[in-house]
């Protein structure tokens, strides 16, 4: 994966498959601590202890079309490769929280990349799910929340192409105002 935003898109699909109704994504850039922390938290079905232990193994997957599942192992590799780590907490019936920490200034850290694209694709791919995305840079933050969008749209579905384009521009402008690193 060339961008951290692609890892986020991929990991959030796990939450979608876990039947979450709310997926909260946050990126927290902290210059003083020199860390970039990505959290993806959902209220989906969760995993039992046994699955939770196996989930970093690339040969663990719930899919049936092939025998490998690379999403979590790839993200862990990216985090560990720049002095960070990946942690997953999960409870059956409650949900799952994945937290990956990256060395912010590490030379091998991939750029955050196109988060507006990731959010637009996530929302239009799962219009029935609510997404909250918070991006924080040294305390200043921008939040995108589909629950807010829904009150404006009413009966218009979130996967309408025009809405997807609006989301992309809206998130882009929000991030520009933060002057993302």
């Amino acid at each position: 994966m060339k961008e951290l935003s692609l890892h986020i898109l991929d990991i959030a699909q796990n939450s979608v498959k876990a039947n979450a109704s709310l997926i909260q994504i946050s990126i927290d850039e902290d210059t003083a601590a020199d860390t970039l922390r990505i959290t993806v938290a959902d209220n989906g079905c969760g995993m039992d202890k046994e699955l939770l232990q196996r989930v970093r193994d690339p040969f663990t997957t719930t899919r049936t079309t092939r025998k490998v599942g690379m999403g979590i192992p790839l993200m862990e590799m990216a985090a560990v490769g720049c002095g960070g780590s990946l942690d997953i907490q999960s409870q059956v019936g409650v949900g799952t929280t994945l937290c990956a920490v990256f060395g912010l200034s590490h030379i091998d850290r991939a750029p955050v990349g196109d988060m507006p694209g990731t959010m637009s694709v996530l929302v239009s791919g799962s219009p029935q799910i609510d997404f909250v995305y918070t991006h924080t840079v040294d305390g200043a933050s921008f939040t995108f929340d589909t629950r807010e969008i829904r009150t404006v749209l009413e009966d218009v579905p979130l996967d309408t192409p025009e809405v997807a384009n609006w989301i992309q521009s809206y998130v882009q402008e929000g991030l520009d105002s933060l002057q993302t690193l």
């Binding site: 994966m1 637009s120 694709v121 791919g125 807010e148 969008i149 192409p161 025009e162």
Partner: protein, 123 residues
């Protein structure tokens, strides 16, 4: 600056089309593989390009959706186009540049772009 007021304007404009869309069972479906393999190969910009092109051309009867791994990871990004009454067409090794041709030639003019399909790759 993108505002919620602008979103409201989109809502008002689209509302009527939506009821139209729900009534029609003969809509065109574009399905994009969005599992790890698809994402790593570049499915996200392909999906954005479809959304963009469909908005630009004001195509109300086309829906863009996602699916997981189709099982041919080496051919990703994969896009399947379902036209009512036609057989499914599978496009492989997609990129945003190919999208405008598929929208113009296949979705609008009903002629699949043979050279981008999985059939062409197998020959």
């Amino acid at each position: 600056m993108k505002s919620l007021a602008e979103l409201q304007a989109i809502k008002n404009r689209v509302s009527q089309q939506v009821s139209l869309r729900q009534d029609r069972e003969d809509g065109i479906r574009v399905v994009i593989g969005m599992a790890t393999c698809g994402i790593a190969a570049g499915a996200r910009p392909v999906m954005s390009a479809f959304m963009d092109e469909i908005t630009k051309r004001g195509l109300a009867d086309v829906t863009v959706t996602q699916t997981g791994c189709i099982g041919m990871c080496r051919l990703e990004p994969i896009v399947e186009v379902f036209m009512p009454g036609e057989e499914k067409v599978t496009y492989i090794h997609m990129n945003p540049e190919k999208v405008s041709r598929i929208v113009a030639e296949h979705i609008i003019n009903k002629r699949p772009v043979a050279e981008f399909t999985i059939g062409a790759a197998n020959e």
